[in-house]
């Protein structure tokens, strides 16, 4: 079997090459963030770090505290999007999967269609509506806007998890003295924990990564998230790429942490959310 072992080794080698090429932009972000200013405009550029320094991190997160505010706002928006999406989507997905209600087909088609709405199409009417009810520059306004995409996603992704549970669970729970709501919370929900984790991760990511609503529905830095902070930073600092990349790296950090710790939920979520009906 040495032949197949050679082939497997060869595949691993090609795999490493693919990774090196494909993940180069991520490497370049981190590498630039620790490059000293004097090195930044070195021609030709050094591919590996020379004279690495954490200067740009200290500049942007210790000396200047603006970014800390953006990070806090990002967490509030992402967590809010996650919690509210789950609160609304869990019962809805459950009912659409397991309870006899009228208009299921229509509801599923609406939820599917909402996913295709362009963000900019929602941003403009929301901007006018929100300015009339003081939801501009407001965490709640941003969270509601982010829910436009995360809520349909959450319903579509959760529904198959409820469908996959065996029938008759609720009847059994009822015999044991549960009512409709307690059988849902005590018996059903614990069984779909993996699905809830997947949806929680993705709704957090939606909230963390949002740009278009942060751009259009805020007017001051008090509620702006890190994505917008990064964008405004490009305008202010122009070509100080080490500073920009330090901010980008910090903005990417929660994603990388979530990605490493929640990997199996992430992969499951992509295939479930996009392909199932």
């Amino acid at each position: 079997m040495t032949n197949s072992r050679w082939r497997m080794g060869g595949s691993t080698f090609i795999g490493i090459l693919i990774m090196v090429v494909f993940l180069f932009p991520v490497y370049w972000m981190v590498k630039t963030s620790i490059t000293p200013v004097t090195e930044l405009y070195h021609n030709p550029p050094h591919i590996f770090p020379v004279g690495a320094t954490f200067e740009s991190y200290i500049n942007n997160f210790v000396r200047n505290q603006d970014m800390i505010g953006y990070i806090g706002n990002s967490f509030i928006i992402a967590l809010g999007t996650m919690v509210l999406s789950l609160l609304l989507a869990i019962p809805a997905a459950y009912a659409l999967a397991r309870l006899p209600i009228k208009g299921k087909g229509l509801m599923m088609i609406s939820v599917l269609s909402i996913q295709m709405l362009p963000g900019i199409m929602m941003a403009m009417p929301l901007y006018i509506m929100f300015s009339k009810v003081q939801l501009i520059d407001n965490f709640a306004g941003l969270i509601f806007a982010d829910l436009i995409h995360s809520l349909p996603f959450a319903i579509i992704t959760l529904r198959p998890f409820f469908l996959a549970l065996p029938g008759g669970l609720e009847e059994a729970a009822m015999i044991d003295g549960c009512n409709k709501f307690s059988s849902f919370t005590k018996i059903i929900l614990p069984l779909v924990m993996p699905g809830l984790m997947t949806v929680a991760v993705f709704c957090f990511l939606f909230g963390w990564g949002d740009f278009i609503f942060a751009l259009t529905l805020t007017t001051s830095n008090s509620v702006r998230p890190l994505t917008l902070g990064l964008y405004r930073f490009i305008g202010q600092y122009g070509t100080e790429w080490n500073n920009l990349m330090a901010v980008a790296t910090i903005a990417a950090l929660p994603i990388i942490v979530i990605f490493i710790s929640m990997q199996k939920y992430v992969v499951g979520g992509i295939t479930a959310g996009s392909m199932k009906d």
């Binding site: 691993t12 795999g15 990774m19 993940l23 991520v26 370049w28 972000m29 405009y41 550029p45 591919i47 609304l88 989507a89 809805a92 459950y94 397991r98 309870l99 006899p100 087909g105 088609i109 269609s113 709405l117 362009p118 963000g119 900019i120 199409m121 929602m122 941003a123 403009m124 009417p125 901007y127 006018i128 509506m129 509601f144 829910l147 436009i148 809520l151 319903i155 469908l163 065996p166 029938g167 609720e170 009822m174 409709k180 740009f211 751009l215 259009t216 994505t227 990064l230 490009i234 070509t239 790429w241 903005a251 994603i255 990605f259 992430v266 992509i270 295939t271 996009s274 392909m275 009906d277």
Partner: protein, 309 residues
Amino acid sequence: MSHKSAVNGNRGQSRGAKWFSSWNNYLFVVPALIFMIVFIGFPLLYNLMLSFQNVNVYNLSGKHDFIGLSNYVKSLKDPVFYTALQNSAVFTVLSIFFQFTLGFALALFFNQKFPGRNLFRSLMLLAWMLPVVISGTIFQWMMSGDFGVINYFLQTLGIIDQPINWLSEGSTALLSTVVANIWIGIPFNMIILLSGLQGLPEHLYEAAKLDGANRLVQFRHITLPLMRPTILVLMILGIINTFKVFDLIFIMTAGGPVNSSTVLPIYAYQLSFTTLEFSQGASVSMIMFLILIVISIGYLRMSSKEEVH
């Protein structure tokens, strides 16, 4: 929607059946439904209404006149609209073509068994999970004219002689955003296609091998036909999602220089939030929406057809 309600299978006059079909089932969907009516349905109708009126930043709080299709006529007469439409088409077609072919090649590669496969596969997803603002900023830096690393690579390889200002030249700006978008989309395509590949029945390939079919023949006559449903859905989803890309282009070029990378969502943004012609912007959104509806009807038709099979 072919699944039967799991608990509804238990027919008869048992207490369970009666219990389950009561009005309070609707309590489960009402919160989500109210949210969607208020924050999605209402803005959509409002957008539709705006597109038939003459609302801009100056008369926002005053009275508005109903002006019929004038906004649509005006949009359809604007040369920038056609530039944006064409750019959207180029952006979508090129992105989808390369995301799909490269994603498929990688899916076939990662469908083999070798050490490190799972690690590599999930590492690739990282690129897809990064907020688009971050990916866009990274590519903006890599593609910068003076010190960008892409110019350095291309010059070292002898592909170009002089550094190119990828993002500030009209001839390359749109293509540069396409390259970044391909990078973002490859992992998604790969994962979906890979999960499709892993669901294919092994025994067909074994039978084909016995019949002496080589890999290429196997791919053409087993893999491609069986992957058809996955490929169709992936294509339609890809088209819808690529057509509405805003963040990436806004970050990298903001539609410039001189509209050379303006796609429809950027054009709608400029009308609504830069020149503050709300009604005009609404009409462009509606045209975009109509295009997406046509594509989505194709999607729903195909997926319902696939479900029957």
